[in-house]
């Protein structure tokens, strides 16, 4: 064997090892979700196959007793409003900042840039009081407002994109008698489609996965989103790992489907988001 083949083998071995490390914990939880309580108790270990590969009983329990249906409903509600709001707010801000010169423009830009540096977790102590004083505590509007109002990354993605739209388009429309709102609505917004797709994907995944904000602001059980509803599995299902596993799989599955279909957009989106 030459040195080259040895290195090649080692490289493949390391890749396979990494794949095992990533997939094994997930695979075992998937297997566990198909087991019966008896199988869990007989001490055969975590790696054994379930007797019946189509035993969906735990999923039914998780879905019904774990209130996953209302959780998915609440998540969908928050997602629609938060994403819609983020797209509108981000594109409007980007349009105003890039296409107009006005007094205090630099100050406004600085306000948004500095806000991007403030990690959200640190300020919740005080944000909580403000949300509470608006009477939004324990309603679905609290997370919606917070997701909309504190997303600087989306503004940044829109800003980069608005810059690439030629100003001559605005100007010719203005000569045709269009005002600023018509230009935004008829020219800028439709041309922003790729940026909107990026923001929808990145924001969608972030909101779907967020635990901290719904946990703090929506304590009542009826308002559980998927993160908080799954978190509550620990109590009633205590040691019933087969049900908890089913719940975890139910939560991961939509992410997996989205990832498989939108891979390229997802890589690009998260790269843009992180390297702002």
């Amino acid at each position: 064997m030459t040195r080259r083949t040895v290195t090649r083998t080692l490289v493949y071995l390391s890749l396979i090892a990494a794949a095992v490390v990533v997939l094994l914990p997930l695979g075992v939880v998937f297997l566990t979700s198909l087991k019966t309580p008896e199988e869990m108790a007989d001490g055969s270990g975590a790696l054994t196959l379930p007797g019946d590969l189509l035993n969906l009983h735990n999923y039914v329990t998780a879905f019904r007793d774990g209130r996953m249906l209302s959780a998915f409903g609440n998540t969908a509600f928050v997602l629609v409003f938060a994403i819609g709001g983020t797209v509108l707010i981000g594109s409007m801000t980007a349009y105003a900042i890039d296409r107009f010169t006005f007094r205090f423009r630099k100050l406004v830009v600085a306000l948004f840039l500095v806000a991007a540096l403030v990690p959200g977790v640190t300020t919740q102590v005080a944000t909580f009081q403000i949300v509470n004083s608006f009477g939004m505590f324990d309603t679905r509007w609290a997370p919606i407002a917070l997701y909309m109002g504190t997303d600087i990354v989306s503004i940044y993605i829109f800003l980069q994109f608005v810059r690439s739209i030629p100003v001559s388009l605005d100007e010719s429309a203005r000569l045709d008698g269009a005002n600023a709102f018509t230009i935004y609505r008829k020219i800028i917004f439709p041309l922003l489609k790729p940026a909107i797709a990026t923001v929808v994907i990145v924001k969608g995944i972030t909101v779907y996965n967020d635990f901290y904000i719904p946990f703090l602001y929506m304590p009542s059980e009826d308002l559980g989103v998927i993160s908080t509803s799954l978190f509550r599995f620990r109590g009633p299902f205590g040691a019933h790992w087969e049900t908890i596993s089913a719940g975890a799989v139910l939560v991961i599955l939509p992410t997996l489907v989205v990832f498989l279909f939108l891979q390229r957009f997802i890589y690009n989106g998260f790269m843009k988001g992180a390297t702002r």
Binding site: F100, T122, V125, T150, S168, L169, D176
Partner: protein, 315 residues
């Protein structure tokens, strides 16, 4: 660039419209000055309400003994800050960040390795790329449960070790050192993918001819990494290091979901949340949050000094 082509498409409309408009009347000029503010009204209102007002309030609370509910509060000067830095149990949480810092070092090295390897021609490249990145997209609570089962007595890890004839009678989350190491390991599992994809993107933006030229000159893989890849990804690398530092300091989800901060796994953010929402010590919690905010801002400032903005944009 695309400017010229676009312009040719729209010019036919121009002759139809009036020639250059005469100086606008006064009210029109006022209206034009107002337009950007109409667009910025909602965004600025939200920005100020949910980012700047909380920061201002937090600063103010940090000098009081407020409990978060009662109408009365007393100014206590720097008392909260002295308490924070002198009571050892409040300060200890910073040591827990050490585990996460060490973990991010491992994470960056591993991400760098996999990004380099997968930037070359490898079979099943997309599969490995997807597998390495996917954990980053998974819901944090689901990850918490997956790994609670992983570390459980007789769970995934024990079963795998038993396959190799090794039977550790050891509660992985039982002692502070073992629990923190395990949790930091989970955070590597979760966040490695993002670092990896960032590095991979940076490496792939290096023009391919450079490698070809190096290969013609007889450079081996290590030399290619040392002299072509390393300088090419320096900006992203610095960015990642800084993000890891602030991420380690504000670690919250994984430890909170998995152990709730028990057995010495309490991090700074868990402690702050508990102080504020369980023990109603809004004043002290605010002081803690201010300290964390200042540290994170300082770290970010260092980053901006080390990597000027335009270089990051190139990625």
């Amino acid at each position: 660039m695309t400017d010229t082509t676009r312009r040719t498409v729209v010019t036919p409309a121009v002759p139809v419209a009036a020639p250059t408009p005469a100086p606008a009347p006064r009210h029109a000029r006022v209206w034009r000055g107002l337009t950007p503010w109409l667009f910025l009204l909602a965004p600025l209102a939200l920005l100020i309400t949910f980012t700047y007002a909380p920061i201002a309030n937090m600063l103010a609370y940090s000098f009081t003994d407020w409990d978060g509910v009662s109408p009365e509060l007393h100014y206590t000067g720097g008392h909260n800050y002295t308490e924070l830095f002198t009571r050892p149990e409040l300060f200890e949480v910073f040591f827990v960040s050490g585990y996460y810092l060490a973990a991010s070092a491992v994470q960056i090295v591993a991400a760098l390795y996999f990004a380099t390897v997968l930037s070359f021609d490898v079979r099943f490249r997309n599969f490995f790329k997807g597998v390495l990145f996917f954990p980053y997209l998974i819901n944090g609570v689901a990850i918490g449960f997956v790994f609670l089962y992983f570390f459980q007595d007789g769970g995934t890890l024990d079963s795998v070790l038993a396959l190799f004839g090794y039977d550790p009678d050891h509660a992985w989350l039982g002692t502070p050192v073992s629990a923190n190491t395990s949790l930091a390991g989970v955070s590597v599992w979760r966040y490695l993918g993002l670092n990896f994809v960032l590095f991979l993107g940076a490496i792939q933006s290096i023009p391919g001819e450079l490698y070809e030229a190096a290969e013609l000159d007889g450079a081996n893989r290590w030399q290619q990494f040392r002299h072509i890849i390393a300088p090419g990804i320096k900006p992203v690398l610095t960015l990642t290091v800084i993000l890891s530092v602030s991420g380690s300091l504000s670690a919250f989800e994984i430890p909170y979901i998995m152990t709730g901060g028990a057995t010495g796994t309490e991090t700074f953010v868990i402690q702050t949340v508990k102080l504020a929402f369980q023990f109603n010590k809004t004043g002290l919690a605010s002081a803690a949050a201010v300290v964390l905010l200042l540290i994170v801002l300082a770290v970010t400032w260092v980053q901006r000094r080390l990597v000027p903005d335009d270089k990051v944009d190139l990625v």
